[in-house]
Symmetry: C2
């Protein structure tokens, strides 16, 4: 819940409070941090800025970092059957974790910045240092991990059991900013349909919505 409200209120702001303040505000929705723990987060956080178009991780490469997006949008996709298949859009306060993070195996996916991105970046070594220095960090990551597991499962269930139209309506309800921020062909690729099919769905929905008003 905290996440959803942060997402919509912060989306599109180009300037704002200090990135670490925003992380702390976000974390306060999960756990209550003491002043000392907040200082620890400040000390452990490495903020990075990436320009639009940056490839954070290319398919086939080893994933050395993971990210918590503070501002901007990262698209995750894979080349499949001659086209891109978009698997996720990571926006404000989404953890963007490569599936092979921490392993020496090639990444099955590419992480691409669709907008200028501000993110907290970390390597396995940085995280291990954080865990060793303070158990509260362990707790924060565990709780965020649980939220992520729930979201990944829901996305998987939706992708396999709901129609493209249902998923488009879900997206419009849950992440309305995304439909404004991301080119329609990426949304279509996320829904697993052709851009023309998405246009048709949108036309039908708007026609149905108009006469009732």
């Amino acid at each position: 819940m905290a996440q959803a409200s942060l997402q919509s209120s912060d989306a599109g702001q180009s300037a704002g409070p200090d990135p670490v303040d925003r992380i702390l505000a976000y974390l306060s929705g999960f756990v209550s941090l003491t002043e000392a723990e907040q200082q620890l987060v400040r000390r452990l956080t490495r903020i990075e800025h990436y320009a639009k178009g940056t490839i954070l991780l290319a398919e086939g490469r080893v994933a050395r970092e993971n990210w918590l997006v503070i501002q901007g949008c990262v698209r995750v996709f894979r080349r499949a059957h001659g086209a891109d298949r978009t698997l996720a859009f990571h926006t404000e306060f989404h953890p963007a974790i490569p599936p092979t993070y921490g392993k020496d195996t090639p990444s099955p996916v590419t992480f691409e910045c669709l907008e200028d991105v501000v993110a907290s970046a970390s390597t396995p070594e940085e995280e291990a240092r954080g865990f060793a220095e303070h158990p509260a960090f362990e707790s924060v990551c565990r709780v965020m991990g649980e939220a992520l597991v729930a979201r990944l499962q829901q996305a998987h269930i939706d992708a396999l059991t709901r129609t493209a139209k249902q998923r488009y309506l879900d997206l419009a309800a849950r992440r309305p900013d995304l439909l404004q921020r991301v080119p329609q062909y990426h949304i279509a690729s996320y829904l697993g349909i052709q851009p023309e099919t998405l246009s048709r769905i949108r036309r039908r929905l708007s026609r149905r919505a108009s006469p009732g008003r």
Copy 2:
């Protein structure tokens, strides 16, 4: 890796060492636990036995528990477009976590025991008690959570970008026991194809394999 070897070596055994000993052996692949921490795991673990056919969680109900499967197979599925769509098979040492676990919202999926199941079960209250009593438990859950996030992402990527035949071959390579243990129509529903299509894929593969021998 520890997981894969445990899965195949233990599959199908009807009797074996004490379930908690098996959990400890499994956990030792992730973290090194002191004697005191091992005692804690013993104290916190609630082992349950469920008969084949038991519905651990029905679609539409609130998820009050999660499970770590120690023996047996739990199928996760959803009714969609007039049929079951199988989303996961949780076998030895898979965490079986309902996507709505810990929330008051209805589960989008059903968890069904395809075999007699031995599992470690827990509620949010039991987990909170464990975390409060010992930070090492937090660490164990964080590490297991990371492994789960990686696996869920890989399953999602595979389901959306690989063909049914590729996914069948992956399954045969990574979880060969599953193909023996689970009825073919459930495997087909997991691959998102009709049972007849799966039979055709299997026939073609076996025909191709035979002449080369």
